[in-house]
Structures are given as C-alpha cells and as structure tokens.
C-alpha cells in the first residue's frame, strides 16, 4: 500500500495496426497526491492523452491495448477491476473534463439533465432532487440564471461556459481525482485564465488531486505543483514546476522552453522604409441576419469588421491580434479579396483593389499571397507537392517557363527546409509543420511582395511553431517581404511583428510599435489580454494573477 492517491507504474500502451503494433506509451511511472496538481506536459503524439484515457478506462480497445503496468488508485489496481466495478468509480471518485466541449457534451440532452445524470447514476438520487442539485452546481461554476439555463442544450452556450458546465458535471460528487485533458486549449486567453481560476478554486475547496494533461507551458506554470514531461511515449523529466521550468535537465525540455515565443526580447530589426504598399481605409463588413418564412433580411446585421484602418509598409511585419470573434479572419479575407467589404477601401500601391478586374486583379493576386492556419486543409489532398507549388505558374503563365519548373520547385523546397525529393509526395505524407512549409513554398512561388499569414502557426506544436517563425523571419530578411501576421497568440506576435494592431469586436482598439503596445498598453482590453496571456514561469504567473484580479477589481 502506498500513500499516494494515484500511482502509475511502468504503464505501456500499444496500438495494433495492420502493419504491426505502435508503442504509444512506453513504460511510464508517476504518482499524484491529494490536493496536488500534476501536469503531464507533451506535444502532439507524445502519448499524454492516451495515458489519461487508460486511467479513465475509456481507451478504445481494440486498437489500443494496455501491454503492462499498473494504475493504483487509493491503493487498488484499476486494471484488475471488473468493468462494472471500474465504471462505478468513474464519475464518483474519479472524474474527467475534456478539451472539445461541444463534441464531448451530448448534443441532444439538456445540460441540466446531463449533470443530473451523474447524480442519479451514482447516488440513486430522485430526479427532482438531482435536478435541483444540478442547478446549484451550475450556479457554483458561475453560469448566470442557472435555473433557466439548465433546460438549454450545449450548443446554446459559449466555449468557456461549456467548460464550466463540464467542470460542474465532473465536480458533482466531489471526486478524489480529476483528470483534465487540455481543458483550456481551444479557449481565448481571457477565458482560459477564468477556467484555470475555477479549477484552482475547486481543487483547494475539495482537496482533490488533479492530473492536468497539456501542451501549454504557460498553463503548467499557472496551476501545476509538479510536472512530468512526456516525449515519444516516455517521461523524460519530472519534478516541481519551478525546478523543471527554471532549470530543465533533459534536452527535450530545454528545447521546448527555448522554443516558447516572447521569452527573450526579439532581435533588433532593420528600420523599415516608409513606403506604404497596402492600406485599408475604414474597412467594414456587415453580415445581414435573415429570418422568417422567406429568409428576408431582418435589417439587423453582425458587424464582423467595423471601420478598420491600417497600413502595411514594404518589408515590415504588422501583427493583428484578437480573440475569436474579433473579426480578424474576416479582415484577412477582405484584404485578400475573398470577401467584398460592405464599405471602405483597400488600396494596393495607391490603387483601389475592389475596382480591379482582369489583368489588374491577376497582377494583384501575383503580388499578395497567403498562408492559412490549417496546413491539413489548405493543400489540395489530391495533388502532389510539385503540382501544388507549380499551380501558380499554370495560372500566371509569364512567371516561369515550363522547362525551369522542376529546378525551381527543388530550389523552393530547399529554401523552406524540405528535400527536393519531396516533390513527388502527397500532402498526407507530411507532418503539420512540413505541410506549413509546403504552403509557404507555394506562396513564395510567385515571388510576392506581401504574404498574409492567417493564424499560420496556431495549429502547430510549440517547437515546430518556433521553426516556422524563424523561417518566416529569414525569408523576410532575404527577400524583403512584408507580412500581415494575424494571430490570437500575443507572444508569437511580439516575436515576429514590428507593429501591432489589437482587434476587439471588429474594431482596432490600439495600434502602434510592438514594444510600445506590449510594454505600455493604453487600452483596457489590451491590458486584460496581456494580463491573461500565460508565461512559462510560476512566479511571474502568480504576479500576473494578482495583477489581473486588481484589474478586474478596479
């Protein structure tokens, strides 16, 4: 008998595929005590979520298989329990919250019912009593008007509220252990901070142990006591958060920490020529709301972008930061002329882009390119890399004579850090980071002057993100490119941008040189955003938390 709440010994999980087994988790051991938070930190494919599934007994078997090891919970080996014994522990003694809350809550049952279900299943509580308790739980996690909203369905709540509901459901019976699988990953930073506060409060109130699965060093620094770093199915380093983040021993942890954007002040940048090439004047995009029998416009509109003005100079990087729904992607689509503005003007070298047609538009297209967020979606899966990169030349026939295509493809691939042999492969044969390199190579094929990066590194792991940012920086220096860099992640923008514009609800609330905006933010929203954005330093995080509370109290 050990005194630990949870003790995992030499756990190994393999996935059977047609071609043989893949060792997803390769003999990991760790423990967790009551009242403590252990973060399992790892990038995609490290095996961290699979481990959590094994603890919860929700691993898909087959193809998953627990090859060896034990999972002791309060001294009992969970792996030796029968299915029904195991099921009784779930929800009552061990609970879990997930990342994608829209998919993880049942879409066809009301949230009140789903919370009450846990109570009824374990406590044989009467329906009415369970229902009243569910409403109280919803109130305790900060859902306004809980009695009315208990009848609503998951899709009627925001992402942050859904995570609150998930927490209410998990905390219903005050479990001894909470497994939180990337609980804040898809959320905006301001919401993320609130959810972490809520989890901290629940942990301190009930004295439960919390196992936090995450890829985010900032989250680890904010809430964890100890951290275990996972890499390729193994735990490479474990210890108190301050030690591991402050003085990493293992090479992987060191690489991970050095990859975090905005840790060191960005390198000094060459002064930018004062030549505006791209300009938006009072740009507005309204989407009409339709309704009624004939789907007529109701006269009301959604103001996705509401009077945005900005300029982009030759060779500079302008960062646009904003949370979801701030209108930053709509802005990008208008600047790319994928969407027509409701009003306002876009000037490219002084000419109005919306009046361009035929040859004028083609030349605009040639000089302004894009890199989208999702490298899985932005490459046509049916085309080989060579075809993908050559496609711009089949459209703009005068750029490059056909005999030189193959040589240029090889050149571009080397330029973005891939091999010339990769030209014959299909996109699905590459990793996310490699695909983003292909997308950059394609954008470069036309030798553009401006590249609009719409959340271009948001879907990537931190270490890959750092590589792509470095690549973009190199290319800019070598070719004099101008970037319009759109992102929700402030440190990333700080690392790459010269100037930054902060967007909120379709408007730019603050705009200026990067250093000024980050060091001396003027607008309250910018300040809130900065205060909520986590850094991988527990002491700095504690200070920020305090500052945030003061900001909220003020």
């Amino acid at each position: 008998m050990s005194g630990h709440l949870l003790e995992v010994n030499d756990l190994a999980i393999s996935f059977g595929t047609v071609g043989g087994g893949v060792q997803a988790v390769d003999g990991i051991s760790f423990h967790l005590d009551r009242g403590e938070t252990l973060a399992i930190l790892g990038e995609s494919g490290s095996g961290k979520s699979v481990s959590a599934s094994a603890i919860m007994a929700i691993l898909d078997c087959p193809p998953g298989r627990i090859a060896r090891g034990s999972i002791l919970f309060e001294g009992r080996d969970l792996l030796s329990l029968s299915e029904s014994e195991r099921r009784r522990l779930n929800g009552e003694r061990i609970a879990m919250i997930f990342q994608d809350t829209l998919a993880h809550l049942n879409p066809v049952y009301s949230v009140g019912w789903q919370i009450a279900e846990t109570l009824e299943a374990h406590k044989r509580m009467a329906a009415r009593e369970a229902r009243a308790k569910a409403v109280r739980l919803m109130e305790s996690v900060g859902i306004p008007e809980p009695a009315r909203r208990a009848n609503d369905y998951p899709h009627q709540f925001s992402g942050g509220q859904r995570q609150r509901l998930m927490i209410a459901m998990a905390m219903a019976l005050e479990p001894a252990l909470l497994v939180a699988d990337e609980p804040t990953t898809a959320l905006d930073v301001t919401v993320q901070a609130q959810i972490l506060d809520l989890l901290r409060e629940a942990r301190d109130r009930t004295g439960m142990g919390m196992l936090l699965i995450t890829h985010d060093l900032g989250v680890v620094a904010d809430i964890a006591d100890r951290v275990a770093v996972m890499y390729q199915g193994r735990i490479v380093e474990t210890g108190p958060v301050r030690e591991v983040l402050g003085n990493p021993q293992h090479g992987y942890t060191q690489r991970l920490l050095s990859a975090v954007p905005g840790r060191e002040p960005p390198p000094p940048r060459a002064p930018v020529a004062d030549l505006p090439v791209f300009e938006a004047r009072n740009l507005t995009k309204h989407f009409p709301i339709t309704g009624g029998l004939f789907r007529r416009a109701t006269g009301e509109v959604v103001r996705a972008v509401d009077g945005v003005s900005l300029t982009l100079h030759r060779g500079e990087t302008l960062g646009v930061v904003g949370e979801s729904g701030s209108g930053k992607s709509t802005l990008a689509r208008m600047l790319l002329r994928l969407e027509e503005p409701t009003s306002g003007a876009i000037l490219f070298e002084g000419k109005d882009v919306s009046s361009l047609g035929g040859p004028g538009l083609l030349s605009f297209r040639r000089r302004v390119q894009v890199v989208f967020q999702d490298p899985f979606a932005s490459l046509d899966p049916r085309m080989r890399v060579a075809e993908l990169i050559a496609e711009p030349w089949t459209i703009h026939k005068d750029v490059l004579p056909r005999p030189r295509w193959n040589a240029r493809i090889a050149e571009l691939l080397s330029l973005v850090g891939l091999q010339p042999e990769h030209a014959a492969r299909y996109p699905h044969q590459f990793s996310g980071g490699q695909r983003q390199r292909i997308a950059i190579a394609r954008a470069l094929a036309l030798e553009p002057e401006i590249i609009i990066c719409d959340e271009a590194v948001s879907a990537l792991d931190v270490s890959i993100q750092a590589q792509i940012l470095a690549l973009l920086d190199d290319l800019q220096r070598a070719m004099g490119l101008a970037y319009l860099f759109i992102a929700h992640d402030l440190p990333v923008v700080r690392q790459i941008a010269d100037r930054v514009a902060v967007m909120q609800r379709g408007r730019i609330v603050e705009q200026g040189p990067c250093e000024e905006v980050f060091e001396r933010p003027q607008h309250p929203y910018t300040r809130a955003l900065l205060a909520a954005s986590p850094v991988p330093d527990p002491d700095a995080q504690a200070a920020r938390r305090k500052a945030r509370r003061e900001l909220a109290g003020a």
Binding site: V108, S110, H122
Partner: protein, 305 residues
C-alpha cells in the same frame, strides 16, 4: 423551426397544386371513358348523352374550373365505375393501406434498430458481417418477384397461407413480409452506419467517464443521436409504402389505395384517379411534415436553427 415548418408546408402546397393540374389533364389525355362504359356498338346519341351527363363535352378549361370549384367544397366528383362519390370510394381504401404501412414500418424500424445496433457494437464481427450482407440482399430484392415467389412457396406448394384478400391474421403475413423486406434492408444499413458514428463520438466517452452503465451509454446516449438519420430514411420508406404498395396490393388482392388507383386508371374513372392521388399526396406531405417535427423533437440543434 416554426418558419421551417411553414416553408415546408408552403412547398408541399405548391407541389400539391402542380400535381392536381397534372393529374387532371393527364387523366383526360388517356381517352374517352365512353369507349369503356358503353357497348362498342353504342350509338352516337348514346355516347353524346353519356358525355353530356358526365360533363365530358364541355371545354377542358370549363371542366377544370368546375373541378376546382367542387374541390373547394371537398367534392372530388363522382365515380363512374362505382356510381358513388369518389371521395367515399377513396376513403374506404385508405385505412387498409395505412394499416398495412403502419404494421410493416413498425416491424421494419424495430427490427432494423435491433440488428443495426448489434452490428455496430462490434464492427467486423459475425453479427455485423451477416447482418450487413443480408440487409444488402434485402435492399436489393424486387418486391413483385419476392411476392410471387412467396405465393409459389407458401400458398401453392405448401398451402399454408391464403393467396389473396384480407380478413384473418394469416392474410397479413405475406403482404407485410414482402413489403417489409426492402425498408428493413435499407434501415439496417442506415442504423448500423449512424450507430457506428454515434458510438465513436466523444460524448460517449464522456458518458463512460461519468460512470454511466454500458446499456444506458448505448441506448440513451448513442441511440438518440444515431436515430436522427434513421427517422429521415424511415419517413421516406413509409411514404414509399403509401404510394408504392400498388404492386403488393395488386398481387395479394389487398383492397387498398394502390389497387384502387391502378383499377381506376385502367377503367378511366377520372374522378377516382384524381381523388386517390390527391388524398395520397396529401397524406405523404403530412407525413413529411410530421417527420420534420419529429426530427426537431429529437435534435435541439434543428429546433433552434
């Protein structure tokens, strides 16, 4: 949701109006009823008198106007063949078809949910492979051929079941059995597919993490989501029986609306053709709307759209 139903109803009314016009004129293009209802050597005067009596001498537009005016008073004309109000004839036949459809669909849906869910529990397992192949075969079967093969076997060779008519329990077995095959086969495939998706959904993981028993996970959490596509297909199939039981009704001499319609077309009993098509179409449209409502009832996302 409300405006969606309203829009669907409006659409159905437009389709119904189109159908009325089409049927009215198409029926009259098939030839003169006088050829069928009078002796071949009937005099010109007799024909004239017959046509006069039934109003077939008036210009088509005038006949159509009269038809519409009568329609507004729910008068669907007079059956020449039976010498009774057409609507009465139709309303007599409708319940027998609806009963057949109700029994068939109840059995098909219940059976398909059971077989499909079991197959989806263990994809690639014995139940799945057997169920999938058999349901494909069932979905491919030509009903008229199955019907006469069944008569050959159970009525002619074995003498167990009556060949036609209705009345006893035994009369129901072959018509229901034959009508059942295709909807059952199609529904098993749909249930299997959608349950496979539902059981792999993240909310099923959540339910297991909450400690809900496996039976409730499958039949409370997964099934309600898995049923959504099933409703649509089941509705289509039910509509198919109401307007397509023609074959089974003809073969088994079931006095339903399908048989009535074919007989009336062959006998140029215009009023009954019009009335029966109108009534079946109205029933099908009503069923479609009920299906939309059921969909909204099961899926709150549709309700709030």
């Amino acid at each position: 949701m409300g405006s969606f139903i309203a829009r669907r109803s409006l659409q159905s009314l437009v389709a119904l109006a189109g159908l009325i016009v089409l049927v009215f004129f198409a029926a009259r293009l098939t030839g003169s009823p006088a050829d069928l209802y009078l002796p071949i050597d009937a005099s010109v005067e007799a024909r004239q008198e017959f046509n006069e009596k039934h109003g077939f001498n008036d210009p088509l537009t005038e006949q159509f106007g009269r038809f519409l005016a009568d329609l507004a008073r729910f008068d669907l004309g007079h059956s020449i063949r039976k010498d009774r109000p057409a609507l009465e004839v139709v309303l007599e036949a409708i319940p027998t078809t609806l009963a057949l459809a109700a029994v068939t669909m109840t059995l098909a849906v219940a059976g398909a949910i059971l077989v499909g869910s079991l197959a989806a529990r263990r994809p690639g397992g014995a139940v799945d492979r057997l169920g999938s192949t058999l349901s494909l075969a069932a979905a491919s079967a030509p009903d008229f051929w199955v019907a006469i093969s069944a008569i050959l076997l159970f009525a002619v060779a074995l003498g167990w079941l009556p060949t036609s008519g209705m009345g006893t329990f035994w009369h129901w077995i072959m018509p229901v059995g034959v009508l059942l095959i295709r909807p059952f086969g199609i529904l098993v495939q749909v249930v299997r597919g959608s349950m496979l998706g539902a059981l792999a959904a993240p909310y099923v993981k959540t339910a297991r993490a909450k400690g809900i028993g496996e039976r409730a996970v499958v039949f409370v959490h997964a099934l309600r989501n898995g049923l959504l596509p099933v409703i649509t297909v089941a509705g289509d199939q039910a509509a198919g029986i109401v307007n397509g039981a023609v074959i089974v009704e003809t073969i088994f001499g079931w006095p339903g609306i399908g048989k009535l319609m074919i007989d009336s077309i062959i006998q140029r009993d215009f009023a009954v053709i019009q009335a029966s098509i109108l009534v079946t179409a109205a029933i099908i449209f009503a069923m479609n709307i009920v299906i939309d409502l059921a969909y909204g009832l099961l899926d709150p996302r549709v309700r709030h759209a």
